[in-house]
């Protein structure tokens, strides 16, 4: 007795109003605050493990510590994905909602043509994903993360893993266009799912004096 695919739920309880977008229960709240935090859970998240310096690694074309936007052919149609060098021989591919299955099969096909050992694992539901946007997002993160995030040390496109509020977190500097189209500092934070709500609350608390506000999710959000 097959049935409709149910609504997916983020580990982070959506701020009111709760709406459905791309099959996910998300927050419909809109904020224009200078410092905003958004739950980006609906994004597809696929983890890859492959030998360093191998064909798969070369194909992904992003080294550990950096991230890059790429346009991929996935089954029927294209998708803009963010490929992250998340660790030594470890990558994370973020894509638009509902693309995880296609991303996985594309990656599996690529892996198949190399004769390397490659793990392609869909972690769309297994991780929490937040976006922190605003000129002072670095100041907020400086309260919870010990790594130097100054532009020189951590420019746009940088990717690193460290402890944020004591939780192992992938930090990706991924600036976005601000109101006047000028790039605004923005970070993606990616951690193990069950700590998502805690991390979200911790950042809200730390950012209170900086006026951080919750901004709902709008697809594609990448």
């Amino acid at each position: 007795m097959a049935e409709e695919v149910p609504i997916a739920r983020s580990p982070i309880v959506p701020a009111d109003p709760e709406v459905v977008a791309a099959g996910w229960a998300v927050s419909g709240r809109r904020s224009s605050a200078a410092l905003r935090i958004t739950d980006c859970m609906p994004l597809a998240k696929v983890a890859i493990k492959a030998p360093l310096g191998g064909a798969m690694a070369h194909g992904l074309g992003v080294r550990f510590g950096r991230s890059a936007r790429q346009r991929w052919e996935i089954g029927e149609g294209e998708a803009v994905v963010l490929v992250v060098g998340a660790g030594p021989g470890e990558w994370l591919v973020l894509g638009p909602p509902r693309t995880q299955d296609r991303l996985r099969s594309v990656l599996c096909h690529t892996a198949a043509v190399t004769d390397e050992l490659v793990s392609v694992i869909d972690l769309t539901h297994g991780r929490a994903l937040l976006r922190l946007t605003g000129e002072r997002s670095g100041d907020l993160l400086a309260k919870e993360c010990g790594v130097d995030l100054a532009d020189e040390a951590c420019p746009d496109g940088a990717a690193l893993r460290s402890a944020v509020s004591g939780v192992a977190t992938d930090l990706i500097r991924d600036d976005v266009d601000g109101a006047d189209r000028a790039p605004t500092t923005s970070y993606l934070l990616h951690c193990e799912r069950s700590s998502g709500q805690y991390l979200f609350d911790s950042l809200l608390d730390a950012g209170a004096e900086l006026g951080v506000d919750i901004d709902g999710y709008v697809p594609p959000g990448l």
Binding site: L52, F64, G87, G89, G146, R161
Partner: protein, 90 residues
């Protein structure tokens, strides 16, 4: 909070890492080892006051096991290498 210069992640606070222990004797052949040999491997430590080679794990970062040279009297760190010999250019 000392700094460990992780070969993968760069200079990071020691809080990000887990300390495994000094690099003791290699693991004896489990089939041939006598109780004395095995328990020396299990329990005996050089516990050097000075430069020591030890194992750390970058738990919050690259999640690689590392070989660290540290002076146990000053906590000065001289070198940090990937324990499995893994490198970007292989």
């Amino acid at each position: 909070m000392i700094v460990l210069t992780c070969p993968w992640c760069g200079a990071r606070d020691s809080e990000e890492f887990g300390y495994v222990g000094e690099l003791g004797a290699r693991r004896p052949d489990p089939k041939a080892a006598t109780p004395a040999q095995w328990r020396s491997y299990l329990y005996q430590r050089a516990n050097i006051a000075g430069w020591t080679s030890e194992r750390w794990y970058h738990r919050m970062g690259c999640r690689r096991f590392l070989t660290v040279e540290r002076d146990t009297t000053t906590n000065e760190v001289r070198s940090v290498l990937d324990a499995g010999g893994l490198a970007e250019d292989q």
